[in-house]
Symmetry: C2
Subunit: 380 residues, 2 copies
Amino acid sequence: MESSKLEFEKAIQPLRTRIDQIDSQILNLLAQRQEQVEKVVNLKKKHHMPVYHPAREEDLISKLRAQAEKTGLDPDFMEDLYRVILRQSRVRQTNQMAHKGVRPDAKVLIVGGSGQMGAFFARLFIKSGYDVRQLNSRDWERAAELCKGIDVAIVSVPIDRTPEIIDKLAPFLEPHTILTDLTSIKALPMEKMLQAHKGPVVGLHPIFGPTSGSMDRQIIVVTPGREPETCQWLIDQFTLWGAVIVESTPEEHDSIMELVQALRHFATFSFGQFLHKRGTDLERSLEFSSPIYRLELGMVGRLFAQDGSLYSEIIFATKERLELLKEYIRSMSDHLEMLENADKQMFIEKFNKVAEWFGPFSEQAMRESTFLINKLTERF
Amino acid sequence: MESSKLEFEKAIQPLRTRIDQIDSQILNLLAQRQEQVEKVVNLKKKHHMPVYHPAREEDLISKLRAQAEKTGLDPDFMEDLYRVILRQSRVRQTNQMAHKGVRPDAKVLIVGGSGQMGAFFARLFIKSGYDVRQLNSRDWERAAELCKGIDVAIVSVPIDRTPEIIDKLAPFLEPHTILTDLTSIKALPMEKMLQAHKGPVVGLHPIFGPTSGSMDRQIIVVTPGREPETCQWLIDQFTLWGAVIVESTPEEHDSIMELVQALRHFATFSFGQFLHKRGTDLERSLEFSSPIYRLELGMVGRLFAQDGSLYSEIIFATKERLELLKEYIRSMSDHLEMLENADKQMFIEKFNKVAEWFGPFSEQAMRESTFLINKLTERF
């Protein structure tokens, strides 16, 4: 080793040791912090207080930003760091609080509990001390017995089987039982449930996959049907598990979901299909990629890591969706002429009109996606 | 206040105070860490060592994961946290090291230095002690004077003006001067540069926006043209600024960029245009959105927060691109029949074929995007 390099190694060693010491101290403090937070959770449990305290979080962030500035740390960096710490703390708290049942004496029946989403809900109810029963395809002979005395029946079967299962189930239900479903369309199941069952009815659409692990900050759309007061405890239970409740009508829900789910997934599917058709060299193209393209291609790849039949259910759920997708394809063809004539000016005009319409959302999207791109650059 | 709540407030106060104390201690340790890292940087500067030491980073992460496990902290959480800390540290180091010039006696001419990208490069060269001159549209009368004795001329003008500017510039260049450009297409400018200038030529495509702030971990595609040894110091300078260099031919570069830039941007543009045409209620639809949709819509919004004419340049850059986009639109129309017949089975077959082709990338994409979705959930 040349002498300069030796000198460098000698000089840098104590600095590295000091950094390692500091890191150990930080780690120990984080463990202490976690201990204190656990004590807070136990207190909250004892006093039936909600876990998540957004105002205290924002307060803490503001204080830390100010402190950071004083000590010469970048406040954005400090905020980034504490968002990670607070999330971890929130998830742990929510997981621990999850045991609490709003009405733990209630009996819950999950129809289709062997599916992923049904199993996810069953786990949560069981953890919170509910009496949970499952009715799967082989259990219909015992349906009368299973449905006896239950407080809520949750239908969790594929979209195209939902109407027939509702019809099959309803005659076994008692008038006080809440009937609900988890289907990602709402108009048709709601109509069916209200028709087939005379008791309380509410529609649910959990907007997340069963692999999420927890309900922390996940959205559930609720479409009230009949006797909303009777159904309220169920909604309260979801809130306690950390879910964010959005109330809607079946019609509004479906028209928004056409875009949010069907159109978006179809557009992603077509893009992936075209890349495949062209025989793109994915790996090499990623080497050339800015984080944003990596992210966009990742969104496409993500779709194809999942179950094709699930997406076919979503895309082919209703006639309205198919009409929407056809309209989308036709609207693409409207651009052909612009491309044929290499009409840049027309592109810019169209672009500006859409930009105006997006308005402040684009700025926000820019901010959010830049944040994520930085995360991506830092991690991969 | 009822007595139970009072009791709760009394019990929680000391815990919160303790947590605040711990947070202050963490903050102070982070400031100390930053100080130590700065000493490391100064040492590295003195000994001309590279800033970024990936092996040491991965070592540190592994050690901290093991330590975390022992103290009852979640190792993933610890890793998340330290990725944020290490990135901050890396960016600071890179920013400080940026001053170092590989050949600080060299003279740099930026043609189009008043544009954003030109200005970005000019700033970096100036910071590293280079003699930087700019040649803007009003300076052509002084071109001979400005080009005298320069070591590298960087053409940074809009794509459609690049060929003519190269032709205009070349006669003023001395034979030893490196001629290069920053255009996002490479075949045409490379051909032009090699024709017009007899000295060293290299093509560059920085795959990032001028607003990135730093070159840390950003990709630059390099297409060698003539006298690569003479051009090497320039590439080394980019590496020292933190860039990742990908070498390619102009043809390969352009064919990948057709997909990475033109097709992706066009697909995003058409999607945004369709949402606009439908008069979608963006705000309400976001309330119904899973983080993944929020992210996807954010990618669309992001496009429209930027300059339409920039995107028109990218999309309309070459005839090949326009052909590709027309092919894409036609391939969309191929799906019409499947939708018309509500042919789920065909969808699933197509889906599975693409999924197979994506192969392991989809799994990786799933992992990466899940990581980002968690980031998004934690932040917004």
